[in-house]
Each structure stands twice: as structure tokens, then as C-alpha cells.
Symmetry: C2
Subunit: 566 residues, 2 copies
Amino acid sequence: MTDVKHMKWWGWGLEGIAFHHENKPGFAPFLKSAVGVDLSLPTEPTSMAFEDLDVPASRASDAFLTALTGIVGATYLTTNDMDRVIHTFGKSIRDLLRVRAGDLARVPDVVIYPADEAEVQDIVDAAVEADAVIIPFGGGSNIVGSLEPLATEERTVISLDLGRLNRVLDIDEGSGLARIQAGAQGPDLEAELTKAGWTIGHFPDSFTHSTVGGWVATRSSGMQSDKYGDIADIAKGLRVVRPGGVLVIRAIPSASTGPSVREMILGSEGRLGVITEVTVQVHRIPANREILAYLYPTWRAGLAAMQAISESDASPSVTRVSDGNETVFSFATSKASKGLSSLVTKGLGVFLKAKGWDTTKMCLSFVGYEGGDELVSRNQKLVASIVKKHGGVSVGKGPGVLYDQKKFDTPYIRDFFLDFGGSADVSETAAPWSKLLPLYTDVIASANRAFDEIGVKGWIMAHMSHSYHSGACLYFTFAFVSTGDAIAQYDVVKTAIQQAFITNGGTVSHHHGVGLEHAPWLEEDISSEGIAMMRGLFDAADPKGTFNPGKVVLGSTTKVEQSALG
Amino acid sequence: MTDVKHMKWWGWGLEGIAFHHENKPGFAPFLKSAVGVDLSLPTEPTSMAFEDLDVPASRASDAFLTALTGIVGATYLTTNDMDRVIHTFGKSIRDLLRVRAGDLARVPDVVIYPADEAEVQDIVDAAVEADAVIIPFGGGSNIVGSLEPLATEERTVISLDLGRLNRVLDIDEGSGLARIQAGAQGPDLEAELTKAGWTIGHFPDSFTHSTVGGWVATRSSGMQSDKYGDIADIAKGLRVVRPGGVLVIRAIPSASTGPSVREMILGSEGRLGVITEVTVQVHRIPANREILAYLYPTWRAGLAAMQAISESDASPSVTRVSDGNETVFSFATSKASKGLSSLVTKGLGVFLKAKGWDTTKMCLSFVGYEGGDELVSRNQKLVASIVKKHGGVSVGKGPGVLYDQKKFDTPYIRDFFLDFGGSADVSETAAPWSKLLPLYTDVIASANRAFDEIGVKGWIMAHMSHSYHSGACLYFTFAFVSTGDAIAQYDVVKTAIQQAFITNGGTVSHHHGVGLEHAPWLEEDISSEGIAMMRGLFDAADPKGTFNPGKVVLGSTTKVEQSALG
């Protein structure tokens, strides 16, 4: 079999890695208070054992499998249950609840691992010929339902895993451009770049288990987007296998050859073909990379400071501020001996209370600095004066170092929580600065109403990240212990949050994509004419519906009909 | 009649404004040396008188005109010859040669000036109903053939002039977002913004005679793009009238709802509907705006310095360097009493020669600085050290002030030159840093071969502008006095230059668009699959071919057939 590594079939990340709370004394009391879970009570994994899953048999015909085997060889094609289940879903809470419960309406019929672009082309052409469906698969970290076959799909479904196209092919040192195969995962490609003295500067939360092709297909953003841009800025050149040929977008810094085909591929979630190669801009590794932490007395003050920084002459790499709840969560998940909680329980807490702060509502902020000594020092000074003006205080480097170390680990907490019957997921949006606070307030109120409606003790927290000149991203995390049908209850909360985004001028997603999960709100976001334009493009580019059909824009534009498919 | 102002029917800009060389002692000798024109010999305008033009009659039916008049009123619809000729072409050399010679294969049948979006909607719906063609018209500054009706067009052609949709509707002061009607021209909208303390930061060469809707339709770039971004970055929200409804893209700082419909409109050149409103990000007017001039001993040194600046911790608003020929041209068009020529003829020239420079080959560079005192001073220091490292010298603020004052006047020189039988135009591209110098070298060689082929004394010069992390724009200006069919000879030179762009890894256009002029090279730029994707979008979004048909992607993808339409 292939040596392409995958995440756990039932959760995030690698086998053997899990969240532990024993060394985090604030966590158990926090969880009790936030969602009513008592960690001292015994529990057991909520997932079914794999052997108890009822995995639908592959529907692929022998003839078709023989044809595909002829392309990649028997080693790199499989119909076994484990592989097909792993390739059925991404890692949203909806996905985890379903897979753990054995709710497998439709799994791919075959998983295939091509070695190179030529094999991808042969697979695509064979699939079109056989009227099969292709769903490209990168790291499998998607959380908006972009990877699953439609439950109603009657045709043969191929999960095309790009895991063997995982190399950094070339670095144009004279331009700062790296050609990378689409299936290269974050840590691997960054390690290759680091060896040559470069960085991609793209570090989404999913970094450890996502691929450059997936970033493009999702239109993702990394934590340092303030400096390096979103993947839409970073991905300059593309190769995309289409029926009968390869779409080649050469790496050009900027062009007026619109409507830009490069940008049609960005966020296309597999619907326009199979991305095989991305040429990304890379940067010399900066002399300094530092994240400093700050505290603000209120969320309003923290947001205002972030906007002031974005409008100032400072040029930080990260601007991030958590609301009061997320700050409480950060303290609760930090270790006793070091980290935030110790900071605040010591002198700082006394100092802040003396200043009149309600320290249960204060907001933790991180600002990142990259570059030469002079730039970093200058930016820190500029930011310090803005922080002060907005009533904030600096709490130094320590928390930032810890944040940097554990930033990719949050998804493991969700698996831990699932074992206590808990559902947790995230929703994020972007909106103009003037709309962020009203949007935030309405999202919190809407989520709390939804918690009441389903009769649970719910928790919601948020942070602002990814600053732009005219606005920013707000990222919400919500959790509760379900008291009935977990997915139905999740839907109530998720729907309330997404609708509040749209109603308050936000987009359905800043960097997670549309998939099936967000498709019901797309029309309200980009208007019915926008949906028509997108559908026109998909229908023209993929008249047989070969490529990941039904994602982003479903066959129908009405919410009711879309929801019926969900 | 409407009070919407237009440029001269036969040339650039306003009546009464023209280029004069009497106060520029270097100009006559330069022109003699560069292209063999003797300005001391008498000449006369090469344009026909308007009354001698044979303007094809309007083909619009009385019934259709009555229907349109019912929408906008008789004052705002015209079939008169002058209006129709003004709306026939943009301002490329091909356009000017044709209009001055009365070569009017197809002129719009009616020019209409709607008052608002509702009227635009009614016109669009009437046009679709009547199977007429709509060509949106902004400032008329296009130079890639995007405004002319196809010579073969049998249907009624409406030139839809957005000139009355010219207001800044609203400024969201809390977000830095301004809603502007599509027909607002650069100086007018900037004046409105300035009153409120804001700037759009978008200053293309065409600024004085182009509109925000046109910038979006063209996917244009302004001189300060290093700081403010291209229009693709600046335009956040859009309203586009489509058959039966308005496409509404709300102003969102960034979104993962791909394929982005906002980006489909960017560069769409009227093919997807009529842009009626653009929400742009605006910036507070910076405390300082300065342009400093530098000189480099060679083009290679100048380019290397620009790349070093773009990779450094400096953040200038403009990075620009001219090659030796363009530097000579700049000196030749500066006034005697002040400006560049006096600088160099005085002590500086002696100093540079003493340093071993060949001052006939030195390269003039401008770097712009915007922001607070500290940022400007810091950036100037960082740039100064880079300039020094690359063997350059600073020549202070004077030339930059002059450049800033006259930057929009260059097109007037072309009209002056036309009266001497001269053809001059521009071609620009963008490419990765590592490809710029080989591309440049091949373009110069290719143009010179083309000059030889047509037997003229030609001139070609270039500058680099619009720096990006991974590359930059190269902008070429070429001129010669034609010895036969001016358009045929222009085609030989233009073709040589565009082909060299493509062959050397450049794009067909960095900021002028595709239109008819660059369409023959688009397939080599974005591949046949890219062309298919674009065509699929156009055909799906505009099945009747109502909106500016034939531009960007012609009915056929082969160069031969496309050229036959040109």
C-alpha cells in the first residue's frame, strides 16, 4: 500500500496524540462552569469501533477498477473500508459525529494515489469517459463538507488523493517563487523551504495536516496573513488537470488578463479540476519572529486597538485579540507552572484590579513582528503606543511563545470533548471594521438564543484575526453537550451564527470555504446574480458534473432544497 | 444635451491643451536623433476635419430609439455623429490613426446617458429583449480596443455612457470604504474624497480621464500601487447590472467564497454586465507624500536596486526606474530653467563622469514615500543604503516634484507626434524578477528587428514600475515615423513586443487589459484550458452576446482568425 499518511478516521491528527488536562488545573473548573461537564466522572470514547461500522460496499465496476489500476498500479488504488472511510469526510464536528456513529450514507468507491500529473490526467480522462465523479483529497482537514460524496450520488465516486505529489519541485531564488506539488503538506513543504532559507509564510490552523493544493482549493488564510497575505495573494502559478488537458497559469506577480482564471481556481473546492501544482511566493526567513501579548480591559478596546494598528504606519505580521470568553479559555488551557494563568494570578492580576479592571472580562491579544531588528523594534514601539492609548497593557513575550508552540493543537481538544458528549466547532467571517462589533454582539446573542432553544448550557467565544485595511476576520468557537440529536442541535446553533454573519454584513466564510456547510447562505452573501454567475462557470467548465459536484453551489439555490441535501 | 464631458474625438485630453516643446530645448534634438523628425520643418494636423468624416448612419430602429428614449428622456440619448464617433474608439494609437483617417468601420448606433442604476437596468433589459449590443463607456481612455463595436456586428449597438453616474455616494468613515458610482472620473472622485480627508490612492496614467468603473473593468493599476495595491485590491464591493437584476458584491475585506464573483468582474471589460457602483477602500491622506529621484549607472543596477527595495523592510509607495533611453527622453522633455536637464548639465554631470559613468546610459529612478514623518524618514534611509549599495546616487526632491506635476501629460505628446506622421504607443507586462532582464533584452531586440523589417528609424524605451514581492511590471513606449501603412507597420512592432513578452514568461498585460489588441496572445499566456474556462463563463453569463461581445476572448481562439477581426 501507499505510505501516504492520514489523520485518524475518527478525529483530528495523529494516533497517539491527544489533549490532556491533568497539567492544566484551570481546565476542569472551566469546563464545568462553561458547559456543565464534570471531568471527574468516568467516561468512555463515544466512537464506535471501526469493525462495527457498516461501510457500504464499493460500487466501482471491476472493469473501471482495472482501468484505473492500469494507470497507477495495484499498489496505489484501494477499495478497502478503512481507506474509503478516511476519505469520506473532512474534520468538521458534523463529520466527526457522523463517522463515529457509523453514519456513512455514501463513501467513495475507490481511493487512488497517482504518482504524478500524467497519472492524474489519465484518471481524469478515464473518469469523464466512464461518467464517474472525482473528489480531490489533500490533507483531509476540510470542515465545510467539501470532501464528502453527495448522499444521492449514483455514479462511481473516486477520491483522488494527492498525497504522493508532495515535493517542492523548484525554487526560483531570483524571484522568491517555489513550485510545489499540490499534495505537499504544510510541515513538509516548509521544512524543504527552510532548508533553502525560505518560508511560505502561510500557517493556517490546519497547517500540520493540510496541503498547498487544499489551501488553494479552499482559499485559505494563515495566521501571519497581515504580512504574507492570504493564499490568494501567495499562490501565483497553478497547474490544474482538466478533461483532455492541463490548465496552466504561469507565475505572474499581477496581471490585467481578467476575468482571472487563477482566481477562478482559488476557492473552487475541486469543482474545476484537480490542482496538481502551485507556484507560491516565498520569503527569506526573517531575522526575527516574535509574538508579543497584550491585555485590554474590554473587547471594544481591543478591537479598536487592532483597527488603529492596521491604519497606522506599523506593519505587524499578526494582529489578534480574543474576547473575554476566549481569554478565559486561554487561561484555562495553560499549564500551571508557566503561561498565562500564573501571570495573572500573580502580581499582574493585582495590578490590573487596582487599575479598575474586571479581570474576568479582559481580552488577550497577540501581535506578531517579523523582520530585521530595526523593523521589529520600530513596530513594537508603534504598537506599544497604540496599546497604551486604548488602555491596554503589554504582558511580554512569554504567552506569545506558548501560543506559537501550541497554536496547531486546539483541534485535539474537540476530540477529547466529544468523548464527554460535547460538540464544538467554529464559524468565521469577515466584515468591514464598522460592522464588526454589532456583528459580534448579534452573533453572541443569536448563539445564546439557540442554546436556549435546544435547552443546553452553551459556550461561545471569539477572536479577531487577519486585519485588512477595511476590516477583519472574526472567528467564533462554540461548544455544548448535546441533550438529544447532536447534529440537529448543532444545526440550530450553526444556523443562528451563520445567519447573524449575513444579516450584519459579514461573509459566509473568511477562510474555511463554502462546501455544503455554508452553501445555504451564499446567495444572501453574493446575491442571486452572483450564484448564477458561479453556476454558469461550473456548468460550462464541467458539463458532466465530474468534479466534486454539488459543492459551493448546489443544483438549487434555495435554502430549503439545499438543506435537504445536507 | 448631457453635460458629460469627453475627450477630443481625434486625440487625448481636453480641447485647448496640447504639448509644447518651445520651452524644452532638448526636445527637438532628441526627436531628430531618436526618430528622424525635424521639428523646424512646417507641418499640419494629420487628422481629417470632422465634417469630412464619412460617419455611417445609425442603424437603430425608430421603435427601439423610442423605447430607449422612454427610459432616459430625449435629452440623454443621441444618434448624432460627433457623439457616436467619440464613443467608437478608445485612445490607442490604432484608434487615433483610424479616427483621424475617417476609418469608421462600425460606430455605435446610439449613445445613451442613464441617470441611475434603475435606468441602466431598463436599458439592459430593453437591449436583451431587442437583441441589441451594449458597450459600457466610462472615460474612453482604453487603449486595447475594448470600446469599439466589432466591424462585423449586425445588431444595434448601444454605447452606454456612465458619465451621469458620477457621485461619491457614501463614505464609511469607520471602515475606510467609499461607495462611488461607476462613472465618476479620477479627479472628481479624488476631490470629493479629499474634502473628507481621504484618498483612494489609485492614480493610473489615465487618471484625469478615466473612471472607477473603467478601472475595475480593465483591472487597472495606479502609480502608488506598491502602497495602495492594484484596483483588484482596492475595489471591495461592486454593483453590476445584469439582465433582469443586479449583481451585488458587498464590501468584504477578504472572503473564501470562491470562485470569487468579485474577481470575475475585475478585468471583465463590460462582458459580464454594466458596472454601476464600486465600493473602494480609502486611506486617510498621509502626512507626507514625497517622491525622491535617484540615478543608476546601468539598467541592471537600477533593476537590482528595485528588487532589493521590494525585499527589504522598507515600504515605499512608488518604485520606478527608467532605462537609459527613457532617461534620455525624460531629460529631453524637461524645461531648461529647472528640472533634470539642468541638474545633469551642471555639477552632477561632472561628478558622475568623474565616477566613471557613461551619462548617456544612466537610469533615472523615482521612489515614493507616504506616511508619518518617522515612516518616511526611516524608509528614505533604508532606500538610501540600498541605492548606494547598487552604485546609485540620490538627486533629491526636485525631479520628483516635476514628475508628480506632469505625470498625466505624456499622452499629449503622442498627439503632437502624430501631426509629424509619428506613431507612438505603449506595451506593458509583468514577470517574475528573474525574468525581467532577459525579457527586457529580448523585447528591445525584437522591437529593433521590427523597426528594421519595416524600414523605419524606431525608438523604444522602458521603465519598471509596480513592484511586487515576486516580480514587477515593465512598461515600454515605442515610436517611429511610418513610411507606409501606419497601422500595418504599428502591428509589426506591437506584435514583436507582445510575442517577446509571452516567450519570456511575461503576461500579455499588467494593467491595460486584453480587449481586441492583446487577445491574440491570451492563449499563450493562460493556456487553451484557461481560454476555455473564460469562454465558458462569458457564454454562460451572456448567452445572447449582449455585453461587449468579442472582447478578451474572441469567438475563435486561433490568432489568425482573431487577427482577421482586428
